[in-house]
Amino acid sequence: MHLDLNSIWFILVGVLFTGYAVLDGFDLGVGALHLFANRDEERRLLINSIGPVWDGNEVWLVTGGGALFAAFPNVYATVFSGFYLALMLLLAALIFRAVAIEFRSKQPMRWWRQMWDVSFSVGSITAALLIGVALGNIAWGVPVDDRGEFAGSFLGLLAPYPLLVGITTLALFMMHGAIYGVMKTEGRLHDKLRVWTMRCIIFFVICAVTLTMATLLYVPHMAARLRAHPWLFSVALANMLAIANIPREFHHGRDRLAFLSSCAAIITLMALFSLNMFPDILYCPEHPENSLTIYNAASSPQTLHIMLIIAAIGVPAVIAYTVCIYWIFRGKVKLDRISY
């Protein structure tokens, strides 16, 4: 199989956004569950479990956005200007959750901590939902005119199918975050999180099944591509096995393997989604000829080539020190005076 530069960049941008979903997914999930912990100490443990890493996780989104800008500027421009209000809300959510983590611990007052707890949790939930809704719209198809500009409306983005994807994303991240929390805590909070994880798994499985049915029934172009490329069923199968493996490992108390299964579930889900889109990035169901593809939306071959060199230098370094950081902060989280 011959891979051209455009396809490589499709994969690389996909890898960056998948990295974001796997990594920031768990800290958004921890944020979504934050208010269920009702004691200050438990909330501190939750925040500190993601404290050293959430910032680096969010960089995957920033770099993914930058890579999309550089490799497929037309997609970046159309999506960002078309989803204007939704993205502004996403920014507000990300701002509130970021500063809440830093600000919360700086004062002891009850109202102060409660305020930032709410802002952290609501920000995380909103961000997870909006990311899912955006993804849902891209899967559902986005109206694009003949100049390549977005031709829909803000309310049009809130159709039932994208909302279902949003809720499924939230459920997925909550499950992912709960398992992460189980790995990082001990004692009473750990036991509580085990109960939440089971509930989150059930919630997610219900969402996932509903979403699969909805996709096959109501999103004909996705179903058609699956029929046209039967090998994609193997990705779908891997995804189902990964999801099924989560409760299995979790039941046997192998928390780390459960977490890895959850990562695998996210990765296969993203792979299934993007392979099913390929070579379109923004599919326009009404006028398929207006769709933005990896060819008509891409930068020049020279830029893609230069960027590939940049990625080849940068990405191994990024992976190396990301692994180091996670290694340094491995193990159960403990509170001390430099904690949040």
Binding site: D55, G56, V59, T63, A70, Y76, A151, T303, G314
Partner: protein
């Protein structure tokens, strides 16, 4: 609302980036000071340096958090509000942003974890390495963002492909793009400005402790390094500013003419020291030094400096704001130089603690670089008008085609409210950290940090 999408989008971009730009210079400047302090701790084993590093790390964490939170907005706004610009330049400009993500942000955020939370998890040397990496990452992000912005000022290494709506800039030479004619000078100028911001913050807080008679050892030592970096950076700032000005004279003569309110080309052109622009009569009223502008711009008193009338009026940047921003920046820069030189001299003379007026001046001096950095960017960006890419694409042509005024109003209100809240909380918490001051516990490093590398004279005395 009577305002159009263009004005609203410009206000929003200007406001969000101005607010964001309060924080990165502090991170860059404080990052440098953290490296110095922690490096000295490792070298001398004097635990006062450890206490300093710990205290300033806490301040650093606060500025960094707000900087990160407000920084993501910037990356989104190119696409949301300036989609046509993004389509046009994505090929060139996008690569600089992506490089910033890969080379700078990952480095910064990854090692930040160790800097903030790794004090007793890793050895001293690994921690110091992390501090250096965070500082390096902060500088890298300045590099790439200035590369991107300088390309908008002095585009190079590209060619235009396609016609009309489908025209776009494509890279022809990556290194020409990176080292476009203004990158190096503007990068030096920006980074020196950031060092000033960090150093004057340290100076200000330390001077305040001296005034209040608190944490005296800590304050004296912090002040010593703060003043040194502040003076060095202010001097470099004047030098790099001069180079940057010469670059503008060469690459963007209309911008320089607007900075100086120079309408008619003149040899022996005067440098305005203080004054205002009388737009109607096309002249500057005020005090000026004859020939000095020619000398500053071209190293010769008699070389003519191009005036605005050589350009079509539709290519003029707005003269009055440019003039004010530029002269405001220069004035503040001179004030920084004076204040840091005074502080440095009296500090080494040993009489600084007695001169309360000067200490008070140092307390408020933190505002100088903050304002100068803002005004400098205003001058650079307003001076680029009416172009979004200088000489290539006009600002109105860069707008998003599908975004209406009402949604920009909505987002503008949203950001105004959020940023007002953020700024108040930031000031409240910064003040709180300063009031609490350095922790006495930090004078006795515990855990892994306590392992002495070698006995230092300072410790033996205790």
């Amino acid at each position: 609302m009577g305002m159009d999408v263009l004005t609203l989008s410009r206000i929003q971009f200007g406001a969000t980036i101005a607010f964001h730009y309060i924080y990165p210079p502090l991170s860059i400047g404080l990052g440098l000071l953290l490296v110095i302090m922690e490096g000295l701790w490792l070298k001398t084993n004097d635990n006062l340096y450890h206490q300093m590093a710990r205290f300033w790390t806490r301040v650093f964490a606060l500025t960094f958090a707000v900087g990160v939170a407000t920084g993501i907005v910037m990356e989104f706004e190119f696409g949301t509000n300036w989609a046509s610009y993004s389509r046009f330049v994505g090929d060139v400009f996008g690569s600089a942003l992506a490089a910033e993500g890969i080379f700078a942000f990952f480095l910064e955020s990854g090692f930040l974890a160790v800097l903030l939370f790794g004090w007793d998890k890793v050895s001293r040397k690994v921690h110091f390495l992390s501090t250096c990496m965070v500082c390096l990452g902060a500088h890298f992000s300045a590099v790439w963002i200035v590369v991107a912005n300088s390309w908008m000022q002095t585009p190079a290494g590209y060619h235009i492909v396609g016609q009309g709506l489908h025209a776009r800039a494509e890279i022809t030479d990556f290194w020409q793009l990176v080292f476009n004619p203004s990158t190096v000078q503007r990068l030096c100028h920006t980074v020196c400005g950031a060092w000033c911001a960090g150093a004057f913050l340290v100076v200000s807080v330390s001077a305040w402790y001296l005034l209040k008679g608190r944490h005296l050892d800590f304050a004296r030592k912090s002040l010593k390094f703060g003043l040194f970096v502040a003076l060095a950076a202010s001097l470099l700032q004047a030098a790099t500013g001069h180079l940057s000005g010469q670059g503008i004279a060469q690459n963007q003569p209309a911008k320089l003419a607007a900075f100086e309110g120079l309408y008619n080309t003149a040899s022996n052109a005067p440098l305005v020291l203080a004054g205002y622009v009388d737009e109607k009569n096309q002249r500057v009223v005020g005090l000026s030094a004859p020939g000095l502008l020619s000398f500053m711009a071209h190293n010769d008193f008699h070389t003519p400096v191009t005036g605005l009338n050589e350009f079509k009026p539709q290519d003029w940047p707005p003269v009055v704001p440019c003039f004010l921003f530029f002269h405001g920046m220069v004035g503040l820069g001179m004030a920084m130089l004076a204040v840091s030189a005074l502080g440095f001299l009296y500090f080494h003379h040993g009489s600084l603690p007695q001169r309360r007026w000067l200490l008070w001046l140092l307390v408020f001096s933190v505002l100088l670089p903050e304002m100068a950095n803002q005004l400098g960017w205003f001058a650079a960006e307003v001076g680029r008008q009416p172009w979004i890419v200088y000489g290539v694409m006009r600002t109105p042509d860069g707008l998003s085609a599908v975004v209406q005024a009402n949604v920009v109003v909505a987002s503008l209100i949203l950001f105004t409210l959020i940023y007002c809240l953020l700024f108040s909380v930031f000031i409240y918490l910064l003040n709180d950290k300063i009031q609490h001051g350095p922790l006495a516990d930090d004078l006795i490093p515990a855990g892994k940090l306590a392992l002495p590398i070698r006995e230092s004279p300072a410790n033996r005395l205790k």
